[in-house]
Subunit: 184 residues, 2 copies
């Protein structure tokens, strides 16, 4: 994908992913989730469709990798429950407000309702590491952590869908207080 | 659309809507939101595409009418805050678990993130009557009621997207307790 003089091992594969992820988010932000197809990503990047499909056989798999890349690794927070809850909620809110990320996130959930294979990928690749980190740091049960993930992520995405805007600070603070009270 | 001997005024229009709504929900449940197009609704019902487009110029407008029909009128609950919160949450949860309804609801929010005209329709036609009823019965501010709508609907839809199943009774009760505490 590149002829610039760089260390070879793994680099082209990484650069290909970076280009594909950036173009996917740009398309989702510009034309919406439904119209951001793998075909358009191919024509926008100049990367062959077959190359994209070989690595991401479905749009769902591509979107999950885009989101994993945008979210980055699990933030490790040490401190009391309030600090953990507050920093976790501010972290996911800051990711959801990045251009294209919230719409990609909401779109993939909407697709997943009728797609068991995509739900498995979402649960194992996307949700699992955050779930385990929260179980560990909060000392809550798996069921309770899954409930809190639904609560926080669902609320932030519903706000984005209804208003087209991320949640403002006042309501974000209200959400933090509510979850702090629910984990006390 | 029908040649059966029935009172004429308004009836054919109503029957057309019933057929279109039922076929839309069936399609969303069967093939998912993205593939449930107006074209497929037309071929599934035998109603002309032009007839459907004349009444619902966009898929978003069709889906909002499908949801309004599935939700029905605002339930009037008299009683204390706990009773109002509990019956409202059980009511929306019972609607979201109807076949096709949750997926149509999640899909239209996902589309709305990049579609200001659709957001306006969602806010004024779908959300407004429920918002006003909750402001009136709970005596909470508009901002607080909008926050609680994001919280409850977002949580239920996120659960549906992650698991393909409605929220179980235990977690639904936890959601009710959380909102009761937040409105006390």
């Amino acid at each position: 994908m590149s002829d610039s003089p760089r260390p070879a091992i793994g680099r082209p594969r990484r650069e290909l992913a970076d280009q594909v992820f950036a173009e996917t988010l740009r398309l989702v932000d510009e034309v919406g989730y439904a119209k951001a197809t793998c075909e358009r990503v191919a024509s926008g990047t100049g990367i062959a469709k077959t190359t994209i499909y070989r690595r991401w056989p479905t749009k769902g798999e591509l979107i999950v990798d885009v989101l994993l890349d945008a979210f980055g690794s699990v933030p490790v927070v040490l401190g009391d429950r309030r600090l953990i809850v507050e920093s976790s909620i501010r972290w996911i809110a800051s990711r959801i407000e990045q251009p294209g990320v919230g719409a990609a996130f909401a779109g993939v959930f909407s697709d997943a309702i009728r797609d068991p294979a995509l739900r498995t990928i979402l649960a194992t690749k996307l949700q699992e590491p955050y779930k385990l980190a929260l179980q560990e740091t909060l000392g809550e049960s798996e069921q309770r952590v899954l409930f809190l993930i639904d609560l926080v992520t669902g609320t932030l995405l519903h706000r984005l869908g209804m208003t087209g805007e991320p949640m403002d600070d006042g309501d974000l603070n209200a959400l933090i207080e509510l979850v702090v009270a629910a984990t006390a």
